[in-house]
């Protein structure tokens, strides 16, 4: 029976066990053996399913039954090879585990957490970085962005003119295509829906390497004027809006006021996510490049994808684009002077904002796994010490040391096999948590599942950890076959030098590993809180935002648009709890921001050389926008009713551009000229407002000039509604007021300012939360581990301490003796941990916002915290040592 992907986890686990252990079964009967076990498990599963809804007990029962296959397989092997030992070892190991249920459960639990965490994070790494992308030859595909030479990481969209220049000059790319963001409104459903999407130039899907699931993609002739309208839709839109009916291909659908023929549906996995939107692209239509777009090198809003030409590497392509960028910068200094092209491989683009943190996360998880191994090793060691006499006896009657090593290894393999099962359960839960946490950040995470590869990874992890955990105790014990051990049985004197060294190494390792993680988490938390406290330039409480696009049949003229906005504003004011209703063209942190920038000059000043001409973002707003957002007015006045369409054109400038153009002076009443969509306008400055952050809190503020909506009509605007109470609760009421005026107008991205800011922080929060959880786990493991191992080590010294007390040692001296030895170990661990943190600094530095990876406060703070807690963990066993009764201690053999 095959190993279906869609089978439930329990069944997959059980069948996976059979698959794993069939190797033990002699080859001649292996096939029959597998068939028999699979048939029983599947029969059990389907009869359970038929009878009732399965609860966890039923699932556990099925898994428990399948574990019998291990014993069965081992038995069969023994029959065929007469290798009784393995079977006996397994049985013996199970008996040993059974004899100490608490210790065994603890060991399994600790390892399960370590293995489960590693598998869960590995699944993210696997999905985003390792697994083959479904795009054809995905490693030859890249996205290309414009970026300022000084901030190459802050990538922006591409101005249409720049893309067209690239396309005509590049030889490194076989196909280069652009997506011009657009939206279509679908009114056939219960509520008007806005579909985000793109008009795409020729070869867009070819460049990405995607073939439609249904239908076809655009033909070359569909990119020319005068053709009937065609569109392709995403799998999601097909399911959500058109009920997933296969007949959709060829259907004519009314969007806005025009009919499009749906010619193709894209595959389910296709989330190019080019527009950095919280909501993804759902519809595409052919782009017909307009004449004016060839000259538009200023507004950067297209998205570009490209496929490398055969035999061209990524670096060559980068070099070529860099050369082209320099040429363009010389040819068009006013728009492209400081711009360069940033090539981002498709895989990195798709992994999005958690691409860089993944390595840190993976490192953190491996540290936790190592800690778990250290803990289990110390448990095994404690157990091994108990059994020293047994081993010595076995060695004395002729067991080879290989035989003894194997016995111990089999025990740890059995232990870690059990832990592996637990670990898969932990991983399953963690993956579910990732999916719900991370999907808004990285759409690809929705494809995260626990698949057979991960089960294999978990098995490999547990085998490796079994060896790591078991080898040392095994070798240690195998060396005990001397007469001394038999006579002493270990518990008498100070314990052998070797064992004490092992204890020391474990304590030092636990402290060091935990400290590296704690420092990492500390830095991330510090960075996150610093960032969350950054002032975005506006008061963010109780503001609702709703974006609309007033275009189309009903909004042909500016007057129609203005009437609509005036009426809706009045209506929204009637909603109880609404205080201010502003409108703005570029909403900070908004998903579909309209960012327009242009040149700016102060009237009466000589024109600076072309490359030094300042530019600014240009935003259309009403006066209430500033009041609703709580943006401070620094000088002059806001826009008011006096700023009529026929009055003097006015502007507000933010203090950033004011400082640049009028250092130390007063811009109010100065006249400026700005290039608004290619036309120069003269404006009188009436006030200065505070500067804002737009994309995210970790990006710099920007120069911005505001023009009043009354004088600069605009169709794409966001309502900014300040409310007395919870803004989110009023959104439905606000929305219905807008629909009272126009029932067919879709409202895009209704949200609150608070949510928008939180969303911009979500990727960092995801990573910070995860690392914090892992660090917390590490802290717990280390504390428990140190406590456990020192308790063991002190117990081993009972007799020695007894002698010391018998010859006059005071409790105080004993306490000092035991504590100072532990303190030394902890100090060594702390130093190593700090060195480890410094080594990891470069890895984590990329994730930090205005926090140094060697931040002294974080380093000393976490080191002190861990050191203190570790000392407390030492104190308890040390304290116990002082209560040893010398007489009974000496009597212990």
């Amino acid at each position: 029976m095959s190993f279906h992907h869609r089978e439930p986890l329990t069944l997959r686990l059980s069948l996976g066990l059979i698959r794993t252990f069939r190797r033990l079964v002699p080859a001649v009967i292996r096939e029959a053996w597998v068939r028999e076990w699979e048939a029983e498990i599947q029969h059990k599963w389907s009869s359970l399913n038929r009878r009732q809804a399965l609860d966890w007990r039923d699932r556990a029962d099925v898994v428990r039954r399948s574990t019998g296959a291990i014993a069965d397989a081992a038995w069969l092997r023994q029959q065929f090879t007469l290798d009784h030992d393995i079977m006996r070892d397994v049985r013996y190991a199970l008996r040993m585990l059974h004899r100490r249920p608490a210790m065994s459960a603890l060991a399994v639990l600790v390892l399960a957490l370590g293995i489960g965490g590693t598998v869960a994070v590995f699944s993210v790494v696997d999905t985003l970085l390792l697994r083959d992308l479904p795009y054809r030859d995905a490693e030859r595909v890249a996205t290309i962005w414009l970026a300022n030479r000084e901030h190459p990481d802050e990538r922006e969209g591409v101005a249409p003119g720049a893309f067209l220049d690239w396309r005509s000059r590049t030889k490194a790319f076989a196909t280069i295509a652009a997506e011009d963001p657009f939206t279509l409104d679908y009114l056939g459903g219960a509520e008007p829906a806005k579909l985000m999407g793109g008009l795409v130039t020729e070869g867009f899907f070819e460049a990405l390497g995607v073939t439609p699931l249904l239908g076809r993609s655009f033909r070359a002739d569909e990119h020319t004027e005068g053709r009937s309208l065609v569109a392709m839709i995403s799998y999601g839109a097909w399911q959500r809006i058109f009920g997933g009916r296969p007949s959709i291909v060829g259907e004519k659908v009314l969007f806005n006021d025009r009919t499009y023929e749906i010619i193709g549906v894209l595959p389910r996995w296709f989330h190019p996510n080019l527009q950095d939107l919280v909501r993804e692209e759902e519809i595409w239509a052919p782009k017909i490049v307009q004449k004016f777009e060839y000259d538009n090198r200023r507004i950067r809003y297209w998205r570009v994808v490209a496929r490398l030409a055969p035999d061209v590497g990524l670096d060559e392509a980068r070099a070529e684009l860099s050369t082209i960028s320099s040429q363009l910068a010389r040819e068009y200094p006013s728009t492209l002077a400081n711009m360069t092209a940033t090539v981002v491989p498709l895989r990195d683009h798709l992994a999005g904002p958690i691409h860089a943190p993944l390595r840190v996360l993976f490192g953190a998880v491996v540290l936790v796994l190592l800690l778990a191994c250290a803990n289990v090793a110390s448990l095994l060691l404690a157990k091994a010490a108990d059994r020293q006499r047994e081993f010595a006896l076995r060695a004395a009657i002729g067991a080879s040391s290989w035989r003894l090593i194997r016995q111990t290894l089999v025990e740890s393999v059995v232990l870690s096999t059990l832990a592996c099962l637990g670990g898969l359960a932990v991983a399953h839960a963690a993956i579910r948590a990732f999916v719900s946490l991370g999907t808004t950040t990285v759409p690809q995470l929705s494809e995260l599942t626990l698949d057979p590869r991960l089960v294999a990874f978990a098995l490999a992890t547990s085998v490796v950890s079994a060896i790591v955990v078991g080898l040392w105790p095994a070798i240690r014990l195998s060396r005990t076959g001397t007469r001394d051990d038999l006579a002493e049985s270990g518990a008498g004197t100070t314990g052998s030098v070797d064992r004490r060294r092992f204890v020391s190494v474990l304590v030092v390792a636990e402290v060091a590993l935990a400290l590296v993680l704690l420092v990492g988490a500390g830095l991330l938390i510090r960075s996150f809180t610093t960032l969350a406290k950054v002032d975005p330039g506006f008061a963010r409480a109780n503001v609702a935002v709703l974006q609309v696009f007033a275009y189309g049949e009903r909004y042909q003229t500016d007057a129609q648009r203005m009437a609509f906005f005036d009426q809706t504003r009045e209506r929204i004011r009637t909603v109880p709890g609404v205080e201010q209703v502003g409108l703005v063209s570029a909403m900070p942190f908004g998903a579909a921001n309209i960012n327009i920038d242009g040149g700016i000059r102060v009237e009466g000043r000589p024109e600076p050389p072309e490359s030094e001409r300042p530019s600014t973002y240009l935003t259309v707003a009403t006066g209430d926008y500033f009041r609703a957002m709580g943006i401070p007015l620094k000088k002059g006045r806001l826009f008011g009713d006096d700023d009529r369409p026929d009055g003097t054109p006015v502007a507000l400038v933010n203090d950033q551009i004011a400082e640049r153009l009028w250092p130390g002076g007063n811009p109010v009443d100065q006249r400026i000229r700005v290039n608004w969509l290619g036309r120069w306008r003269t404006l009188q400055v009436v006030g200065v407002v505070g500067r804002l952050r737009h994309e995210s809190l970790d990006r710099a503020t920007r120069p911005e000039v505001f023009m009043p909506l009354s004088q600069v009509p605009f169709g794409s605007l966001t309502y900014v509604v300040q409310t007395t109470d919870d803004a989110g609760a009023l959104i439905p009421a606000i929305r219905s007021r807008i629909w009272e005026i126009d029932r067919t107008l879709p409202i895009y991205d209704a949200s609150t300012v608070k949510t928008l800011v939180a969303q911009s922080l979500a990727p960092r929060r995801f990573v910070t939360d995860l690392v914090s959880v892992l660090a917390g786990l590490a802290f717990l493991l280390a504390t428990l581990g140190i406590y456990g191992i020192l308790t063991f080590a002190t117990a081993q010294r009972t007799r020695e301490i007894g002698i010391r007390m018998a010859v006059g040692g005071r409790a105080h001296d004993i306490l000092t003796l035991v504590l100072s030895e532990s303190a030394r170990l902890i100090a060594v661990g702390v130093v190593l941990g700090l060195l480890g943190s410094l080594a990891a600094a470069r890895l984590i530095a990329a994730l930090l916002y205005s926090t140094s990876p060697t931040d002294p406060l974080t380093l000393t703070g976490t080191a002190a915290l861990l050191g203190l807690v570790a000392l407390v963990a030492c104190y308890v066993p040390a304290r116990r040592a002082t209560r040893i009764d010398p007489l009974s201690a000496l009597r212990t053999q």
Partner: protein, 103 residues
């Protein structure tokens, strides 16, 4: 051959019409890691024979055919001898004839 208590339970279950590994587990309350080695040993000693169930049944349930086990005359005799020795083992009393025999 050793007839341990567990072996007797398995023989008893077989005689009551439990023919499949997992069903025998349920009937005897023994873990699968014990039941299977016992079955294999009994088969080697010719106290039990095994065959695959009919393909048709398996196909309707979309799984491989199950393997069913049956007592031989030697098995019945071994059970009778052992029952004398153990005097109505506790587990055996709880056994009821299975509802369906082979598939």
């Amino acid at each position: 051959m050793r007839t341990t208590y567990s072996t007797v339970l398995v023989l008893e279950a077989l005689s009551h019409g439990y023919h499949y590994g997992f069903d025998i587990m349920d009937a005897t309350n023994l873990p699968s890691g014990t039941v299977y080695p016992i079955l294999r040993r009994l088969e080697r000693e010719d106290m039990v024979t095994s065959e695959w169930e009919a393909e048709g049944v398996a196909q309707t349930e979309q799984r491989p055919p199950r393997r069913y086990y049956e007592l031989t005359a030697a098995g019945r005799k071994a059970l009778a001898d052992a029952a004398d020795r153990y005097r109505a083992p506790r587990g055996a009393r709880a056994l009821r004839p299975a509802r369906h025999s082979r598939g």
